[in-house]
Amino acid sequence: MINEFKGKVWKYGDDINTDVIFPGKYTYQKMEPEEMAKYALEDLDPEFVNKVSDGDILVAGKNFGMGSSREQAAIAIKYAGIRVIIAKSFSRIYFRNAINAGMPAIKSPEAVEAIENGEEIVVDMKNGKIITSKGEFVFPPYPKTVMEILENNGLINFIKNKIKNS
């Protein structure tokens, strides 16, 4: 069960696209997730991968992950250490890719406004709450299918377990 995430915030702006999250030139190179992590946000903030620590939280503006369907854009961020992303909104495919990679993507424009770069926040998945220095913000719980995928740490494990149990 995923209950709670607590971590330091990395905050970025609006319309962060998949090319700056994970450059196209690496997209067709075969890589394990750990290697993808080395290129996370390379064209947005080249220092990010050196400074991020395990368990940190990414916060961004509207339309996060717009652009390509490349899944590495979600996987790279996850393996760089990010556990959860909060944004004003997500692009459709990125939202799915994040969930399918087992990384919650939470939409909360109010929380994004309030959260300061570098502060420590808590995301309470069970009760749908984001706790920041400026107060608490609620978000609606995920539908059952989505929750099941997250609890299995991603779509592939979810299917594996489903096949195993059937």
Binding site: D15, N17, T18, D19, V20, P23, G24, K25, T27, Y28, Q29, K30, D43, K62, N63, M66, G67, S68, S69, E71, A74, S89, S91, R92, I93, F95, R96, N97, N100, A101, P143, T145, G154, L155, I156, I159, K160, I163, K164
Partner: protein
């Protein structure tokens, strides 16, 4: 209550009466992938299933890095060929076919009323034929290979009505960039889009594909044009299987309806680094260029090459000009029409059909400080392989006119 195209399609597929907001698990009719099939096959093997459930629904088209520019891409391709043989996938198109979306359509997989998904964001293109087609992630493709099905949320629908008189110098690309400029790159987020109106009715099938291709740049889940006689004519002798078109009900419930009159727009340009950074070309005329790119899955069809050739006929280009027909069929038709000769005489470089420089992997990568004017669908930072370069987007005629002068030039009157 009436249903939108999307609601009807997912109702048919799930055997339930569903409306926007519902989550359904359904079986897509086709699942497309390209060079990323190598990575997908790795994920597929991790699931632990030996055989693809419905190999006849799997379509794989190599296009992103073709012919292989380096050892790693060659190995990727090799792995895919082995996997295709092992799994008995008949719908495999090797490096000598063209860009996935064009090949998929030409080969008659893009059909009215079908649910099609692909591990490429511009899978939306097939909606021009009346299909419901959406981009998905690689794991999702692996999941479909293994189980045949995937979860979807039924989207709300935005109806975009395009009216007016299309001037001679305006192409569907100008209309698409103009609309994205008005509604923003997230203007269609999570939504289905139905393109309609007299301008769309009058468009050729190829022109409609520009709109549905660019629907991805509005953030939309899919773009749809209702199939008509032109669609049926195009599909005659081409359709891989039988199909039944699906149309929206008159009394369907739309999230919103947007109407655009395009009678007075001029050629459109998207400035770096977002597709919704729209300006009329008149505002950026004179900006110096280093490279021109005509082609890609957005504007690499015969109709686009004709537009460009008309402008380039008898002229010389001033900057590196790359032309990429979207498929070998388009290449051959362009050759027969004498278009390739016009390009060569003008001093352009004709590349083999494929994605080429569009994603910055090879063939025409830019240097820092350089600027390309391109007919592709994306101008993100780093998209063409260099984060310190700039990409402007426009129509084939605009890019061709600019190639001649070496700076952004309005094709009107040229």
């Amino acid at each position: 209550m009436g249903k939108t195209f999307a609601e009807k399609l997912f109702s048919n597929k799930s055997g339930r009466d569903v409306f926007a907001g519902a989550i359904v698990s359904v079986e897509p009719d086709y699942v497309m992938s390209h060079d990323n099939a190598a990575a997908i096959s790795g994920t597929f093997k991790k699931i632990g299933v030996k055989q693809i459930k419905y190999p006849e629904r799997v379509v794989i088209i190599l296009d992103h890095e073709i012919p292989a520019p380096k050892e790693s891409s060659a190995s990727n391709h090799k792995e895919i060929r082995t996997f295709v043989n092992e799994q008995g996938i008949d719908n495999f198109y090797d490096v000598n076919n063209g860009i996935c979306h064009q090949v998929f359509t030409e080969q008659g997989f893009a059909l009215p009323g079908k649910l099609i998904v692909g591990s490429d964001s511009h899978t939306t293109t097939y909606g021009a034929m009346g299909a419901f087609s959406a981009g998905i992630g690689r794991s999702e493709v692996a999941a479909i290979w293994a189980t045949g099905e995937l979860w979807f949320s039924v989207p709300e629908t935005i109806k975009i009505i395009i009216n007016g008189q299309m001037s001679k110098f305006i192409s569907p690309k100008d209309i698409a960039l103009y609309i994205i400029g008005q509604i923003g790159a997230d203007g269609g987020d999570y939504k289905a889009i139905e393109f309609t109106g007299e301008v769309v009715d009058n468009m050729s099938v190829a022109d409609r594909m520009v709109l549905t291709n660019m629907a991805a740049e509005m953030g939309a889940k899919n773009g749809y044009v209702l199939p008509d006689q032109k669609t049926l004519d195009y599909l005659k002798g081409r359709a891989k299987v039988d199909f039944t078109p699906i149309y929206s009900d008159e009394d369907a419930n739309y999230y919103k309806t947007l109407t655009f009159d395009i009678s007075n727009i001029s050629a459109s340009v998207a400035k770096p680094h977002t597709v919704d950074n729209y300006v009329p070309i008149t505002e950026v005329e004179g900006i110096k260029l280093d490279q021109a790119l005509i082609g890609t899955c957005t504007n690499g069809r015969l109709e686009d090459l004709r537009d460009a050739a008309k402008v380039l006929d008898g002229k010389k280009v001033k900057i590196r000009t790359l032309v990429i027909p979207a498929s070998w069929n388009v290449y051959k038709d362009a050759m027969k029409e004498g278009l390739l000769e016009i390009f060569i005489d003008a001093g352009a470089i004709i590349l083999n059909p494929g994605c080429g420089p569009c994603l910055g992997a090879h063939q025409g990568v830019m240097a820092p400080g350089e600027r390309t004017f391109s007919t592709a669908n994306r101008n993100f930072k780093g998209r063409m392989g260099c984060r310190d370069a700039e990409i402007y987007l426009g129509s084939p005629a605009s890019v061709a006119a600019s190639a001649i002068t070496g700076k952004i030039t309005n094709p009107e009157g040229k």
